[in-house]
């Protein structure tokens, strides 16, 4: 398959690994902030193939995981109302709220439907004029243009029974928050490829200048990640700090301007709560007043739903790359994908889910790890 197979090519991957092993001198901590990248790393075992000097930590790259508990609870409230059809991406359905999750609400009779794109939600709204359709619009900058487009279209066509419950988060403020945290160990970032496809990487230069850290925009396949690691390594070993782009087949400097324009038209930047981390200023998007009639947060009486985040929560440390999921006392025991205690275990982009799904066997089988070492040495 074009654009896929070349970037999964084992020969290319091994050559990159060899270069990384040759050139890595000092210890470095690299963070990626995209659940898709986390999963690729876990799925292909890239962290095991890298030399010991390079440590990969996982940032808050899963928009499902960082959606505030309040937003989930509001969605659950709405979904239970008989006049509402709640439309959501599949991922959100099993994320636990304070007391339940959307799948369970669906089982109890709530009208909850899975969509692959917000246009499906608009279609449902047109087909069901007597019901109120609420689209759970969650994501990073990647999904913001499509969600903005749906709201814009709803206003244009006066689809009065459509609204969106929005929880969008932005990556650069998260990087800033991570870098200013006192216990931050990160030396460089792999920036998320699809976020940057929309936004470009111009804004990352400000972060590079402010914190003197290299940032490379990376794609999602094993070769992409390894190439991005090599590019970061080369900067780090030379003491340089620049914003670079590895994912050139999809990302350019300025990004997708029409997409950015529609986002600016419909949304405005706001302070945003990140589940497990806390509030980060100017790190989220909310619907502008002009589109207020399509903003579920304004339309429905949901103000009474406020939930205090637990004072301490290990998912915060996981999301900030300070702890690996396996350090959590509940990991794999009280907390599993079937019975998740938190979002990172249930989301297909969550770090805990990645570790659980792909790495559980390492507790059981030392035979396997000696096998792979032999493999990687022989090549």
């Amino acid at each position: 398959m074009k654009f896929l197979d070349e970037y999964r090519n084992a020969g290319v991957a091994r050559r990159l690994l060899a270069a990384i092993r040759r050139e890595a001198r000092r210890p470095w901590v690299l963070m990626e902030i995209c659940g898709g990248q986390t999963h690729t790393i876990m799925r292909y075992g890239l962290d095991e193939l890298l030399p010991p000097q390079i440590e990969l930590v996982h940032g808050p790259g899963c928009p499902v995981c960082v959606t505030p508990l309040e937003t989930i609870d509001k969605a659950l409230e709405l979904a239970a109302r008989p006049e509402v059809i709640l439309v959501s991406y599949g991922d959100m359905l099993r994320v636990p709220g304070s007391t339940t999750d959307l799948f369970t609400v669906k089982a109890r009779g709530g009208d909850v439907r899975i969509a692959y794109s917000p246009t499906e939600a608009l279609k449902i709204a047109r087909q069901n004029p007597g019901r109120k359709i609420v689209f759970l619009a969650v994501g990073f900058e990647t999904t913001a243009p499509a969600n903005a487009m749906a709201i814009w279209q709803a206003k244009k066509e006066k689809i009065g029974n459509f609204s969106a419950l929005v929880s969008h988060v932005l990556v650069p403020p998260a990087i800033r928050a991570l870098m200013t945290a006192p216990d931050c160990r990160v030396n460089a970032f792999i920036a998320p490829g699809h976020v940057c496809t929309v936004m470009g990487y111009e804004e990352y230069e400000r972060l590079v200048a402010e914190f003197r850290i290299p940032i490379v925009v990376g794609g999602f396949e094993p070769v992409d990640i390894l190439e991005a690691v090599l590019m970061l390594l080369r900067q780090l070993e030379k003491g340089e700090a620049r914003a670079e782009n590895q994912y050139v087949r999809s990302v350019n400097y300025r990004g997708n301007l029409p997409a950015q324009r529609i986002v600016e038209e419909v949304f405005e930047i706001t302070e945003q709560k990140w589940r497990g981390i806390g509030s980060i200023p100017a790190s989220g998007l909310r619907v502008r007043e002009e589109y207020g009639d399509y903003d579920a947060a304004r339309l429905f009486d949901l103000a009474s739903i406020t939930v205090a985040e637990p004072a301490e929560c290990i998912s915060a440390q996981v999301l900030q790359g300070l702890k690996k999921p396996t350090a959590c006392p509940a990991f794999g025991m009280r907390c599993t994908p079937q019975n998740p205690l938190g979002a990172p275990m249930v989301s297909s982009e969550g770090a805990c889910a990645a570790y659980y799904n792909y790495r559980r066997h390492q507790k059981d089988s030392s035979v396997l790890s000696s096998q792979f070492t032999a493999d990687s040495e022989v090549r």
């Binding site: 398959m1 084992a10 659940g35 898709g36 799925r43 292909y44 075992g45 890239l46 193939l49 928009p63 499902v64 508990l69 991406y89 599949g90 991922d91 099993r94 709220g97 339940t100 799948f103 369970t104 669906k106 089982a107 109890r108 692959y116 994501g139 990073f140 990647t142 699809h194 497990g276 985040e309 929560c313 290990i314 998912s315 959590c328 006392p329 509940a330 907390c335 994908p337 079937q338 019975n339 998740p340 205690l341 938190g342 979002a343 275990m345 297909s348 982009e349 659980y356 799904n357 790495r359 559980r360 066997h361 059981d364 089988s365 035979v367 396997l368 790890s369 792979f372 990687s376 090549r379």
Partner: protein, 360 residues
């Protein structure tokens, strides 16, 4: 324990989930939730050694005749899809469950639960499809039942088929017989049925339309058994057959690993997957290992038997793309792993419920 470690143990990620009081869609997906329901509710209630084997079929001994006996219900939506429909599926599914026990399928029953208002023309099409599939498979539909429920109480049409067949002596195929050193074979490319259904349901159109692989497998099974001189030899050479339906390859292999208390190690680069299916899965965020098949089988072969089996499979129209895809290994606890092209290894876990596509 110090108080610090006590408080650490109390930390949880955001919120607790209540115990499951209702049946969720996931309970019917063939994954972990389904398995849990069977183990915690059905097995204890009906407790008997035949049921506890949890094979695709039950093999009962009636006055010396070894009868294979199985049942399956079909609730597929939409009713008609590229490559088949609920009617042909209802025949193939049950015939295959019998065939997985090495049985020659003989007779089926068919029970309809019809929603009031279903056009008779639709029912006629389904029945015609049932007739053709049964005739082609060489089975007779000898008894049945019809129920009609009020509009809104059933989704158009549900079908249950129950089947019986005869199992040769000396053939004791079961998912609990896999042993370290055995090899895992698959009869062809995976993921086609699930993607065909999903594409139809979601109105997704691909350049090359993906068709369900729905087919009756007893001919292929017979060809594989015939690769051995006697049914006794076949019984030693083949540990079990399984058809990876809901939950896909991964659920089936996890079940075998669980029941045999072994590990299964797969080789990613050799698992046959059609380009179109790979492409569709990439787009939808699905993993082909978890997507349903309705015309494929897995065979666990004893050491030394795999090559003969592979040859027999590839000679059969339904086994042209058969491959050896893995080995059974010793393992402290049952687990399925897969080796990537990079030489690293990861788990192939059983899904909790339905596969959920990515968000971005």
């Amino acid at each position: 324990m110090s108080s610090k470690s006590n408080s650490l143990a109390q930390l949880t990620c955001p919120a607790p989930l209540p115990a499951k009081e209702t049946i969720l869609l996931g309970h019917g997906s063939g994954g972990r939730l389904s398995a849990e329901l069977t183990r915690s509710l059905f097995l204890p209630a009906f407790a008997n050694p035949i049921l506890s084997r949890l094979d695709d079929q039950a093999i009962v001994n009636i006055k010396g005749a070894r009868l294979a006996f199985t049942t399956d219900s079909f609730v597929v939506k939409p009713l008609f899809f590229p490559g088949g429909d609920i009617g042909s599926l209802a025949v193939h599914g049950t015939v295959n469950d019998l065939a997985m026990g090495g049985a020659t399928p003989l007779f089926l029953s068919v029970a309809f639960i019809i929603e009031e208002g279903l056009p008779i023309e639709v029912l006629r099409r389904v029945v015609e499809s049932l007739r053709c599939a049964a005739r082609k498979a060489g089975v007779e539909i000898v008894t049945g039942d019809t129920k009609v429920v009020e509009k809104g109480s059933g989704d158009q049409l549900f079908i249950n088929t129950t089947g019986i067949g005869l199992v040769p002596d000396h053939l004791d195929l079961s998912a609990n017989r896999a042993r370290p050193g055995d090899q895992v074979l698959v009869s062809g490319s995976i993921g086609e049925h699930g993607i065909a259904i999903l594409a139809q349901r979601e109105g997704l159109e691909f350049e090359c339309p993906i068709e369900s692989d729905s087919a009756a497998l007893h001919g292929l099974v017979a060809a594989m058994l015939a690769a051995f001189p006697t049914s006794e030899a076949a019984g030693s050479g083949i540990r079990c057959f399984r058809d990876p339906t809901r939950g896909g390859l991964s659920s089936t292999l996890n079940e075998i690993a669980e029941q045999s208390r072994v590990g299964i190690r797969l080789e990613e680069s050799v698992i046959p997957i059609r380009e179109e299916v790979r492409g569709a899965c990439e787009m939808l965020g699905l993993d082909p290992l978890y997507v349903a098949n309705e015309g494929k089988l897995i065979a666990i072969a004893a050491p030394g038997s795999a090559d003969a089996l592979l040859k027999a499979m590839r000679n059969d129209p339904l086994g042209r793309n058969a491959q050896i895809i893995g080995t059974v290994v010793e393992s402290a606890s049952p687990i399925v792993t897969i080796r990537t092209e990079l030489g690293t290894s990861r788990c192939v876990d059983m899904l909790a419920g339905d596969q959920l596509p990515r968000i971005c």
